[in-house]
Symmetry: C2
Subunit: 267 residues, 2 copies
Amino acid sequence: MYTNIHTEPLQESSALAEAEKKISFQRALMGLRERILTGGLAMGDRVSEVALARELGVSRTPVREAMSELVEQGLLERMPTGGCMVRSLTRADVVDGIELRGTIEGLACRLAAERGAPEAGIVACEGILGRIDAALGVSEQETDFERYMELNEQFHQCVAGLSGSGVVQKELERVGAMPMAGPSAFLQGQALFPHTLRSLVVAQDHHRSILDAIRRREGARAAALAVEHARLALRNLDFFLGEGARHARRIPGISLVAGTTVQENDL
Amino acid sequence: MYTNIHTEPLQESSALAEAEKKISFQRALMGLRERILTGGLAMGDRVSEVALARELGVSRTPVREAMSELVEQGLLERMPTGGCMVRSLTRADVVDGIELRGTIEGLACRLAAERGAPEAGIVACEGILGRIDAALGVSEQETDFERYMELNEQFHQCVAGLSGSGVVQKELERVGAMPMAGPSAFLQGQALFPHTLRSLVVAQDHHRSILDAIRRREGARAAALAVEHARLALRNLDFFLGEGARHARRIPGISLVAGTTVQENDL
DNA sequence: ACGGTGATTTTTGTCGACAATTTTTCAAAG
DNA sequence: CTTTGAAAAATTGTCGACAAAAATCACCGT
């Protein structure tokens, strides 16, 4: 009856006809994000809306929205003339991102301490710590890194929740999404190296000390510990930027850091 | 020759045919922002894309982008079913926003101190302080509040620049755009009240102390001062939420705070 | 009268089209 | 061979159209 120009917008792209309720925006977001993080698009490259739209099998509109989202997350950069390019980070940018996350986590911890976080929440955090201990195991061989990552992420979120501030929580989510500032950014590649286990043990001690400070309502101590805790990531950053550069491929966004030469010698 | 469906998309709206190079997105952004801040849309109201598009004389596309932007800025809230509504803030949200800004400004100051901000930049900041002194005048009657606002904003940006960190600077811009967290959020209404001048004198003292701390490379002091400085805004917030509620109309986003009853008795 | 149910109207997400720029290409001149 | 300039191609911002979903409303049964 009616003209019906676009009956089936998802016709190609083999096997996805099933669930995929109704959001091609998510497809665009994940597709673009993956292409950036896995190096499909080199840093500085201009992102063509039409090309991506065709490759992902969606229209330009959701691609454009995905690009806006990734600009907010710091993966893309708006060009003055219009359009976006893959962001190019310096080591200093990543360092500042980590320091920023540490500072805001420090704020969350201070608020939790000063305002009196509910005991139930603190206990919940301690529960996660217990599970992290279990994931660590007793020897390095027994360590379940994937589970550690998941639990670590959970713990950081849970502590953010102790602040009782939705504003701070939201902001932490934001900075955690920045290229390599997230609390679990460098864990993927850590499974292979000797200093790893010791590093994780130190991190666990930080976790416990932070909770202790919150329970004792020692706000300044909690904040300082959070900043120091975040700085653990700096060591890993410099490792993967220096001697460990060969294995840097495992770290999601590291190809965005200027001076890295990772793309080749693959496959 | 060609069909040309939309020859002149900006035909109505009287006098704007001049500059307005090419961005109806800006029109949508400013129009929506104004309607929210001046109370044209009450908190909790759903924002209709079509209605706004028609009222502003643009298509739905730029309106939609403007809505995304304002969600990022914290003025709107996404509804789970789709679309946006005007955000409803609690006093606690605003307090946390102010604390967040203070903390990040504190980070900027600490970095500036620890990493050694260039003397030229510090001198530039001091220059702004001198101009603020001039704008303050000697008696309350001579105070030029508009100029004070402008210079205050400038000073905060300039100090953020001292950190030397684009990441921190960008984040400060972001949280400064949050509903009432900006450094000059409450200055508009301050012109009328007695405690005002003293408050501004204290603020100036903070400014000077912060610069002094940065120059002496006393990072912790600089950070603590920045947090304390931001908290000056708390007094004004409570004033306009309490006894001064009659005059709250002058404060841009205060109609978003739940429990405020300002919209009526106007005009 | 009231609560549930089905129809109608509004609203959103997505699409392709088009004009104004911006970028690239290519050729001629210095 | 480099530089300059103009033509051509590509890209972006914006628009109206449509289908699926949500919200609103009328109706009916108990």
